[in-house]
Symmetry: D2
Subunit: 337 residues, 4 copies
Amino acid sequence: MILVLKNGTKEEEILKIREMLDKYGIQVNSIVGQSTTVLGLVGDTTVLDINSIYLNKNVEKIIKVQEPYKKANKKLHPENTVIKVGNMEIGGPNVVVMAGPCSVESREQIIDIARNVNDEGASILRGGAWKPRTSPYSFQGLKADGLELLNLAKDETGMPIVSEITNAAHIEMFLDSVDIFQIGARNMQNFELLKEVGKTNKPVLLKRGFSNTLEELLMSAEYIMSEGNEDVILCERGIRSFETYTRNTLDISAIPALKKLSHLPVIVDPSHAAGMNWMVEPLSMAAVAAGADGLIIEVHNDPANALCDGAQSLTYGEFKETMRKLKMIANTVGRTM
Amino acid sequence: MILVLKNGTKEEEILKIREMLDKYGIQVNSIVGQSTTVLGLVGDTTVLDINSIYLNKNVEKIIKVQEPYKKANKKLHPENTVIKVGNMEIGGPNVVVMAGPCSVESREQIIDIARNVNDEGASILRGGAWKPRTSPYSFQGLKADGLELLNLAKDETGMPIVSEITNAAHIEMFLDSVDIFQIGARNMQNFELLKEVGKTNKPVLLKRGFSNTLEELLMSAEYIMSEGNEDVILCERGIRSFETYTRNTLDISAIPALKKLSHLPVIVDPSHAAGMNWMVEPLSMAAVAAGADGLIIEVHNDPANALCDGAQSLTYGEFKETMRKLKMIANTVGRTM
Amino acid sequence: MILVLKNGTKEEEILKIREMLDKYGIQVNSIVGQSTTVLGLVGDTTVLDINSIYLNKNVEKIIKVQEPYKKANKKLHPENTVIKVGNMEIGGPNVVVMAGPCSVESREQIIDIARNVNDEGASILRGGAWKPRTSPYSFQGLKADGLELLNLAKDETGMPIVSEITNAAHIEMFLDSVDIFQIGARNMQNFELLKEVGKTNKPVLLKRGFSNTLEELLMSAEYIMSEGNEDVILCERGIRSFETYTRNTLDISAIPALKKLSHLPVIVDPSHAAGMNWMVEPLSMAAVAAGADGLIIEVHNDPANALCDGAQSLTYGEFKETMRKLKMIANTVGRTM
Amino acid sequence: MILVLKNGTKEEEILKIREMLDKYGIQVNSIVGQSTTVLGLVGDTTVLDINSIYLNKNVEKIIKVQEPYKKANKKLHPENTVIKVGNMEIGGPNVVVMAGPCSVESREQIIDIARNVNDEGASILRGGAWKPRTSPYSFQGLKADGLELLNLAKDETGMPIVSEITNAAHIEMFLDSVDIFQIGARNMQNFELLKEVGKTNKPVLLKRGFSNTLEELLMSAEYIMSEGNEDVILCERGIRSFETYTRNTLDISAIPALKKLSHLPVIVDPSHAAGMNWMVEPLSMAAVAAGADGLIIEVHNDPANALCDGAQSLTYGEFKETMRKLKMIANTVGRTM
């Protein structure tokens, strides 16, 4: 950590800062410039409260030199994490596709979709049971019944299940019913929930909040990992910008950025990013071309009558065609699919 | 609701749409323009899933004419809501100031701060017991002990308490300990939590998420109100923009906008918006000048040693001076304080 | 255009609005809903000033049904525009790569870079002569000398030239020296400049402003096209968002969006979007996978000593490797390169 | 300037960096931490190209310690600048109001408006002659005739004139016709234009681009000042955020921030920020409460028939009432008006 002092800070004031830092076992090296003095802090600066240092009347700026995340940090864990789910590996050479409806609606629906996406190469079944909706008047999901139906579809197809958890009180139920916990964008900083899934040993698919920075995403991964669960899958799903043509702006650069900063697998959700089904194919192709480890795609047997997010769901035919093209892109970038 | 159809949509296709809408009891009036046909829907369109309509190959655009929030909507409840807390009223002619530390740290601290801010005219005591922090390695609050200490300060000063709840499992404990539930910005769309506080009869201070629109804020208020609790206080606390000089960008226009759209009281948190103590005074003055019903301000006995958010906390002296100026502004705009 | 009237607007007020619109030759159809009346306007509504209509005390909302751009609109010109530059075509099956340094620095530099990028498959030479820099103290380009050096490099390699024009007073000089005018992001709404290049018959590469919507980009294209010059190449180069890890956020969805809305060719500038050379390759690959018609990439013989934007420039070796991979992606999506 | 080196950078590599910097006369002090080495650069680092330093394979991060603007910097010019226009002072104790129509439309219109706003206490007349509009099909202003009409209004009322210049070729004409050059938001980084007005000795009202940071605004002021013209008035007029309820988001914190960073006067344009006339009053009051040195407000004799921006223009009655309240706020914060 580096402290930039205000012009004209007196020697005695600098001494006081040194003494304060000394209490925390932090060594201070100073650089005296033409008009500015800079203090370089050596030691474990995570024990300091940055905000309080700002209050020192002589401190103009504080600069963090090291990333605040540790367990998620590639510098400290250079090898990429590969997460096993059933007989699949996420983060390895294979590009993994998770597919299914926005929300589970009925036994027939979920089994039919599962069979179809499985036939086209999807290996994990997604489906919402609890649905966080902007309006209290919108369909909120089948809840516990939804989890049961997902398991019927799993029995039929062998596909592992990923489904969103929105309440720490549901942990036990989800532990019995899903293979991957999904933390939705709106709950990315619901730290109470993060800590709870961190205490389990099931993989967690952590979606980036639509207005959270990459560093904040990695800090939320850190919340899970610091409780013991290191199997976190990062998911870019579009961020909020001034542009309103798309529902969100897919931050395609998040893929190479996260792969550089962290050892965790990175997948992309093109369906929520675009919010329009015709854009899912080009965004999926872009994501794989940019190095994504997987995709999570909404597919529905009858999008026009979907109880939620129909506008962004692919039909079976569209999904088949998208998968055909994705395999070609995956092979081009040296991956299997 | 209005549907704009694609150029060249055939009569028979329009007929199909009419029939589909008819099932929901919705009447359709059409306007045939030079190149575009527009359908005006009359009836309760909240039963429709908008996304699914988009999938109709002939629909180009859907336009919502009415706001999706009802209980929070000023059009339907033209009279302003005034919320009673102890012997105070929020949303009436008086500008209410809530003040206190970011987090409760000790008995001495919280009692000392409570006495001081009370002396200067603050009427509600704020203080965090559970602290949602970006980093799992930061101080997370005194939790249940914090609530107890807040109540000691309440006993001393008579000030009602507002404190943030982050977990639905804590509802009972908070019901016994606080006078106003605070829902923090990161939990504005934690719908499970909103529904739970909506089932109680205590006022809820609902902070705007740092990347949520005003409509989303009002929809979150609607979540609380639709469960039966209509005592919601809206709080603008800064939004995330490209500008990084301030921690957040205080959206001052949210005050007149929310007062126009809703009958609920609107307060402002200048401390989190700015993130810098020297900016709290001008932003507070601006908020009252623009019509805010109150403020929530961080004050600390010793900001330089605060366990959290010291950089944005006022000292007693700064708070005193800010209150002096605020009273003058309040009087200028015809309010008491 | 649709006008949503306020609840309770009286018949006589509606009549007044009808009469006002009648003056402009606009027919009005009304839809009377439960609580809202909606007026559908039929006729050429571009003659109306929308802002003034808002002032009618009875108008709650105005909804534009048609896009405000015409010449750039795919609906009105369904066939894609293909722009010829020398013997190349932009917007056809071939993916065109423009490459070169941020700024022209010397005869040796520009000729050496031109030869190298040409050898690797780039077909148009980019190079800045006038450089708009945030700081007045930064290198501002070689100006007229830069244009001359670019032409020496053209003589050597036969590559057409694209270079940024920042001042309408330079039009004559640029007409003699470049094959494509470049309008930079900061000048996307410098309408005086747009009108001037619109009066020429040279292709214009129009960069999206870093905070401009797709509609605004198309309106700026419209400024050029409405003066007679319809050869506009749209360029996505990253937008400003809250994320600061990258210099800008590449809006990858702009590619499919612009291809759907407009018939104009769409290229991508991954260098300015990322601001970091190691990210140029994955972003370029994503862009071609998503359907871009071309790329504009910064390449430098000695990035570490570049007078501008060295950090985002590729070395010859990096460019060669990027081109190798891009060709594979281009072929995978059915294009030549 | 501070360079953070990558973990494990070798001594010999550090030596090379030192030697490189030595060439520029820059001294290097190093701080060797547990895992990171940091180099503090002492000397005039403005001669360095930051981007190129990034390319050194051993440099992880570069941190600028000093603001890049000098002439606009309050640290170097602690005394506030007061700009004289006629017998008025901008930046002194008086809060200055500039008022008038979005665009000049006719002799009668501009004279009538000038008289009215002057009567209510406005001291400078605004009015657009060249109007930069998003659409080429919108009214573009009366141009030279508009300047003439403004001068007729000046003859009648004695009010100095501020009007927007959009083209460096118009400098001479504007020098003869206006008292303050206005640089609009879209031209804030039209550096060619900035340099030209910088060569004159007339005050310049520089509007912040709707997506420009405060630092970029100050760098644009620096462009003008470095050419010799130090009479720059900064203007906050709303920034682009994700919120679409208002046309722009007024960044109220820009006022105290700019007053802290710079010695230049700061005014606010509430009309363009809100885009809705009913919001102009509360935003104006907030701006003066937060310390603005002035306001620029759109007023029109007949907003419903204005040729541009009618929706945000005040009527005479609204302006009168706004001025009455503004005077009270100004007095409350210790200023005249």
